[in-house]
């Protein structure tokens, strides 16, 4: 086949994927404005957090250590995210591609290459505008790097991103071919856990203690180029081996007709979800629920029934797997990299972030996949209340599952001082999320509810980290990050205020909802 035809196909295919992913921007101008606001908001919140962190951090560590820490976080995070994608096949296949593209004379290699570009561009189009200026400002003014050094750092980051996408695709396709879910999960989890041992806990570690993690090879290699530590042998060898292995599995995968064992797996385009994929997901959940109910009999209470229903969805859509992998990675990191080196204050911050983000993600998934089926409870008396009640209970179960192993390893969280806050964490976020999703029920609005939730989700982590500190400084000045009392007071005040406002605003909507 002539090379021009091949390049033309790859170009068209990549463009098609990007259009499918970002296409909602074409539907309504509001999406474009909101996209811009998302970048701006994300930039402001993240810059605020990282800049204040960097200035505080630099007073206690050297700039080389700071750069190493940031790079280690970046490369490890990239790899862990790649493994989550690999577990689902590594290749992103939209439902329309499965029906139409797979029937055209496109070769697996052409498709795989276009997907590499798509994954690279789609992730960077959202993150680069947020992080690029930030990296430049932090690098230039706080870390005193030259423009050339920053440029090298960025080039390494982009190069690694592409190799990592290819590794995730190759591994994902080869693992999918085995059709062995146990093996797939085992391999993905093992690689995540190995990576977790190289992961610095940026926000949660006592900064005065010397770092004991080993930076990932890509971070070490970048560092050696920036700061001239050319005596390193291990990182270049490791990087070369990684690149060769990646190329080998990538080309092995490109020889396989992977549509045969990886169906449409890319259901959430940015800002919108098609009714087809929603229906597909819902059908899968229902099938799983049927199996689930054979093990645990249907409860007679409607609320308990819906709790079970939502829980089965969490298992089916992978929420629990992502949670489990995050917790396992965190524990491995704490046990092997930072044993006993964490302050209670940071444990609590971590706990807060974990709960808020996981609960918000769950709410987002519900909106994306189940919102369209709301006509079922809407047609039953008090059906919505039952569904939302069940949703809330299922989140409480999820939070308990998240917290129990965590608290078991950090027994000081059981102290009389921390316990009330921990209990509040179990109960309050589910209530807030249930109330939030109740407001976003309308189907077919141009300014989609999923998008609003996406903004909330993207802001939830930095908000969870920063807001308690801001609240603490407002209500209990002067702020002192080492004072647990101040921090906790701030955290509780913050959650309390948010909860009260949301209850006031949303309770009206709930009653309207039930009257429909």
């Amino acid at each position: 086949m002539p090379a021009t035809t091949t390049f033309r196909k790859i170009r068209y295919m990549t463009f098609y994927k990007l259009l499918s992913h970002f296409g909602a921007l074409r539907k309504d101008k509001k999406f474009g404005i909101t996209y811009f606001l998302l970048i701006l908001g994300g930039f402001l919140v993240i810059s605020l957090g990282l800049s204040s962190f960097s200035t505080g951090f630099l007073t206690r560590t050297t700039r080389i250590e700071t750069v190493e820490l940031i790079l280690s976080m970046f490369f490890s995070t990239q790899f862990i995210l790649g493994m989550i994608v690999a577990r689902k096949g590594g290749v992103s296949i939209f439902a329309s591609e499965y029906h139409y593209v797979a029937c055209t004379p496109i070769t697996p290699l052409q498709y795989l290459v276009s997907d590499t570009f798509f994954q690279f561009f789609s992730s960077n189009l959202l993150s680069v505008p947020v992080f690029l200026p930030l990296i430049y400002v932090v690098g230039k003014y706080f870390l005193e790097l030259s423009t050339f050094e920053i440029l090298i750092m960025m080039c390494f980051a982009f190069l690694y991103s592409i190799i990592e996408v290819m590794f995730s695709q190759g591994l994902g396709v080869l693992l999918s071919k085995t059709r062995n879910e146990l093996l797939t999960n085992f391999v993905a989890l093992s690689l995540v856990l190995i990576t977790a041992m190289q992961y610095p806990l940026l926000f949660f570690t006592d900064l005065s203690i010397d770092k004991i993690y080993t930076p990932p090879f890509a971070a070490a290699l970048t560092l050696s180029y920036i700061f001239g530590k050319r005596d390193l042998i291990y990182p270049p060898i490791a990087f070369t081996v990684f690149a060769i292995v990646t190329l080998l599995i990538y080309f092995k995968a490109s020889k396989l007709w992977f549509f045969d064992y990886i169906g449409p797996n890319y259901v959430s385009s940015v800002f919108d979800v098609t009714s087809y994929t929603t229906r597909l997901r819902h059908r899968q959940v229902l099938c799983f629920f049927e199996k689930f109910s054979k093990i645990i009999p249907f409860p007679s209470s409607k609320k308990a029934f819906f709790t079970l229903f939502h829980l089965s969805r969490m298992v089916r859509d992978g929420t629990l797997w992502v949670m489990a992998i995050s917790i396992a990675a965190f524990f491995v990191n704490v046990m092997f990299v930072n044993p006993g080196k964490m302050l209670s204050l940071y444990k609590f911050v971590n706990l807060l972030a974990l709960i808020v983000v996981s609960n918000m993600s769950h709410g987002l998934l519900w909106i994306a996949h189940d919102r369209i089926n709301m006509w079922i409870p809407l047609s039953a008396p008090n059906g919505v209340e039952k569904v939302l009640g069940g949703f809330e209970k299922s989140l409480i179960v999820l939070n308990l599952a998240l917290l129990l192993p965590y608290v078991a390893l950090n027994t000081d969280l059981l102290s009389a001082f921390f316990l009330p806050s921990v209990i509040a964490l179990i109960i309050i976020p589910p209530k807030i999320i249930a109330l939030l999703i109740a407001t976003f029920r309308e189907v077919g609005k141009t300014f989609t509810t999923q998008f609003i939730l996406m903004i909330l989700l993207s802001l939830s982590l930095p908000t969870a980290l920063i807001s308690p500190m801001i609240a603490g400084s407002l209500f209990y000045p002067p702020i002192d990050l080492t004072s647990t009392t101040n921090y906790l007071s701030g955290a509780i005040t913050y959650l309390g205020v948010v909860y009260a406002i949301l209850c006031l605003l949303l309770s009206k909507r709930i009653s309207e909802y039930s009257d429909d």
């Binding site: 296409g23 139409y100 496109i106 070769t107 045969d260």
Partner: protein, 243 residues
């Protein structure tokens, strides 16, 4: 009559579940072949196998003397496929979608595509985003996307779903003309009237196996069909209820 397609002992499993088992049949040029059977019988799997979407675990699929295997790209332009619930790219216009498919198929967006747009009435909304189209309009776009490159074999899985009677008639005319040009169609449906109207031959399929092949479609009536499908619980229930 020239044989365009041949399936030889084709078997496909989904994990341990049977998709189709040991099915063999052929398709001649100018023939309209219908696959008829209950839900989950294996009709869609058969169409997906011929379209090259999935590969058989064993057996062979021969399209115009070429084997459909790993290098299926050679014969894929000979086939057009309309899925039962076609999923379209929501944020492309019908025009862009056809242009994109033409690029992937290595052909220019032919005059025939515009002719189809005209006949099917797609030209009225060809520059609208697919996300804004009605169910019937989307089905027309999906149909055009499966036939615009003039394939030799057209695979249709419930093509009339969601179409109003006028659109059904327009699609029917296109299909009859298409057949008259020596092309062939494999058609999967649950609607008996369509079976009678179009088919030259009917393959009865259930539980992934071919149960019977009916050649005398003209004299086929619904009761006769039910008798032939007597093994199906659903059909027996239908018979008992007198429908």
């Amino acid at each position: 009559m020239k044989t365009l397609l041949e399936l030889r002992n084709v078997t496909k499993y989904y994990d341990s579940k049977v998709g189709v088992e040991n099915i063999s049949f052929n398709l001649n040029s100018g023939e309209f072949l219908t696959l008829f059977g209950p839900n989950g019988a294996g009709k869609t799997t058969t169409l997906k196998l011929i379209a090259g979407l999935i590969h058989p675990d064993s057996g062979e699929i021969i399209i115009m003397s070429k084997k459909l295997d790993g290098n299926a790209s050679e014969v894929k332009n000979l086939i057009g496929y309309l899925p039962e619930y076609p999923s379209l790219p929501e944020y492309l216009t019908p025009e862009e979608f056809i242009e994109f498919l033409a690029a992937l198929r290595g052909t220019k967006s032919s005059e025939y595509a515009y002719e189809l747009f005209e006949i099917l009435g797609i030209n009225k909304f060809s520059s609208e985003l697919i996300a804004k189209l009605s169910k019937g309009q989307r089905q027309l776009v999906a149909f055009a996307a499966s036939i615009f490159h003039r394939p030799k074999i057209l695979l249709l899985d419930e093509p009339f779903l969601g179409l109003d009677i006028f659109a059904q008639e327009r699609v029917s005319e296109i299909l009859l003309e298409y057949i008259s040009q020596g092309n062939s169609i494999i058609f999967s449906t649950h609607i008996f009237d369509f079976v009678k109207r179009f088919s030259h031959r009917v393959i009865l399929i259930s539980n992934g196996r071919i149960r019977d092949i009916i050649y005398d479609v003209e004299n086929l009536n619904f009761e006769k069909l039910l008798r032939k499908l007597g093994g199906w619980a659903e059909c027996q229930q239908l018979q008992l209820s007198g429908k």
